[in-house]
Symmetry: C2
Subunit: 415 residues, 2 copies
């Protein structure tokens, strides 16, 4: 395919992860080293930075500082939750994006995000094709939710999973230290897909995991839940429960809403959830009468870079690098995904596959029901086999004063 | 002093820490290797195990498994919050303890805990002296609260501080990822002393820490707090706040109680606090109108062994070892404390000092007011200089399947 010379933009969007910057670094480093790519711009706060003409010149950053992006949580370029309208309804934003692309001679656009970001990516790609502007557009996935369609797993999931499994093991030890009864309800992120909550089951491998695990893939019943907890509590005097924030009853009503009916809504129409652990803890306290503690892993589960998976970091970098390599070769309109291979010894090997953006955008991949036990309160070995290779390895992250040394970018604005 | 031959008991009490087992291992390993100590018993759930005659024979544990205690959070022998009455009021428990001591020929008693545990230790010591039973009794401190009198710092504090500082840095990155306003209120443990909340200021060293830090050493005023947050939010569009769970107004009323008046009370008369972050988040949301998130570090801050300080682990071990060494030499009725020295190059060196139990029991050491800034919303460099050496070093903790490999004790009951 013909060589295309021009600048590139990398943007980050949606909720951050511990390793989204490792993907961005994969894009930035590879693009800076490419002969085809003349300039590398980072968009401030995703597509907003393009619309507002706030682009950082990544070529002016120190190489060592850029490399620290491998170990730096959250989106270093800033994120947004801005939703593009369909261009058939209102093409104002698209015209503006085209204007900026022309201004900076942008011929490559890499967008690093989840479902909504792939949708944004797809819309821009379609618009550029419709107006005949030659530009190669690639999606670089990230999500702790692991819910992107068509890829074996998503960059960002494994590190969050490792945080969840490790913290569950530690809490398991802590929560049974006293000679008195204790129920612990741990709330884990995941609105529609229970992948991250499922990771709590990895702690069960050593017998130090939650007794009960509830995902949004299965309808949640408060009475059944109470019976489950009572049965275990009466036997052991302790019970640890992991629940996904998105669990709902058979009518689709979120259990989180049982406690708080009027949660605020974000720009994508997603309810801002929270307080589920404390609601369920209070409910169980009333039913069982023992000491109950509600725990939320909150932001820590998605920004805990100190316990990131080294496998996740290297795969995240690889996905960013592949996006640039394939785009330079002529690919466009694709998301970089992973496929799982085994080597000759049956060991896990992760390969790259490309998927059409249109297929990925706004499609959610849920946990297979056959990976959830018959009772709907735990995971099967199939899940463990799937997840375990992903969380391996501890990164050799740099420290200063015994604390993380995160990347500090100069963020020099392009003119 | 005369050599005293006999068995020893080690018990753990109060809230656990990431490294309390490193102290216990210091006791157990040193006692097992001692010529004077004939048997090493672990009391199940602290003094309750003595009263109930549930003692584990530590000599039957595998040496490798015992060594894993260095990296295993929570109290491996189990804990309790049982409070001994004064023997002048009711000596039933004391008679029972003496009976058990005689039954197993116990001549050494090591108690691993905080303020209340040192009180227990002191009471037992005084009783044994009063009845003329020769027995050497030593307190081995632990507390994430760092509030024990007379010692430079307490085992367990540094690891919790490292968790707090690291997590604050990660949250700092996460909480400012969007191009929209955000206030984050982080609740940190500490009822009367703000040591652990002060550790949030370590994150400020790299410019990635909370904007505001409130300790219980200073009266908290909701209007002043609101002004502080508004000032920072208006300037930066973001504000991160760290608050100690024990902050209170000038009348001594806990701010946590503004939201929840009737919190339950534990056996020592301590209120079971919680929900402060969510109360303050809701309050600020009402005042500022922006997105606000309340975060509780909950149990994770005291059981996060995966991010323990290697310095803390080695000092914890050292304190347990010193307790045995000094007891064998003839010391009794003391708590092992730390004193800080500098070597010839001005580097931090931690030495052992012994303190009378009676002086330590039930005395709380608070953060010096001169280490808190004039505004009462941040820490001075004196605190940083104090805390920084304590959090250094990453332990080489063993993993299995990419997850922690904690000690699994056989816990064979002594006959």
């Amino acid at each position: 395919m013909s060589q295309l010379k021009g600048a590139c933009i990398i943007g980050q969007s949606g909720g951050p992860t511990s390793v989204i910057n490792a993907s961005a670094y994969g894009v930035i480093r590879t693009a800076l080293d490419s002969d085809c790519i003349t300039k590398v711009y980072g968009a401030a706060n995703g597509i907003r930075g393009v619309l507002d003409d706030v682009l950082y010149d990544m070529g002016q950053e120190d190489a060592e500082e850029l490399e620290l992006l491998l170990y730096t949580p959250s989106s270093a370029l800033g994120s947004c939750r801005y939703k593009l309208k369909d261009s058939s309804v209102d093409d104002t934003d698209y015209k503006r994006i085209l204007e900026i692309f022309k201004k900076y001679d942008v011929r490559y656009f890499f967008y690093n995000g989840g479902n909504d970001s792939m949708d944004t990516c797809n819309k821009i790609s379609k618009y550029m094709q419709s107006v005949g502007y030659e530009c190669r557009i690639m999606g670089v996935p990230k999500t702790i939710d692991n819910d992107l369609w068509g890829t074996d797993h998503c960059p960002g999931y494994a590190s969050a999973a490792k945080y969840v499994a490790t913290s569950c093991m530690e809490i398991y030890r802590d929560a049974r230290v006293y000679d008195t009864g204790m129920v612990c309800v741990i709330e884990i992120m995941g609105r529609h897909a229970g992948w991250l909550t499922a990771a709590a089951s990895l702690a069960c491998l050593s017998g130090e995991g939650p007794d009960l695990i509830y995902l949004p893939e299965v309808d949640f019943d408060l009475d059944k839940f109470t019976d489950d907890v009572k049965r275990i509590y009466e036997k052991y005097g302790k019970c640890i429960v992991a629940v996904s924030e998105g669990i709902h009853d058979k009518n689709g009503t979120l259990i989180a809403e049982y406690g708080a009916d009027n949660a605020p809504v974000d720009a994508f129409g997603h309810k801002q959830l929270g307080g589920l652990a404390s609601y369920l803890a209070g409910y169980i306290k009333g039913q069982v009468g023992c000491k109950v503690r509600g725990i939320e892993f909150s932001l820590m589960q998605r920004c805990g870079a100190h316990i990131a998976s080294a496998t996740d970091i290297s795969e995240s970098f690889m996905s960013g690098k592949a996006a640039v390599d394939y785009a330079v070769e002529g690919m466009t309109d694709k998301m970089v995904g992973f496929e799982r291979h085994g080597d000759e010894f049956g060991n896990y090997v992760c390969g790259i596959k490309l998927m059409d953006l249109v297929d990925v955008a706004n499609t959610e991949k849920k946990v297979p029901l056959e990976w959830i036990n018959a009772e709907g309160n735990g995971m099967t070995d199939e899940y463990i086999d799937y997840a375990l290779p992903l969380i391996q390895g501890q990164p050799d992250r740099p420290l200063r004063n015994g604390l993380p040394r995160f990347a500090k970018l100069k963020k020099i604005q392009a003119k």
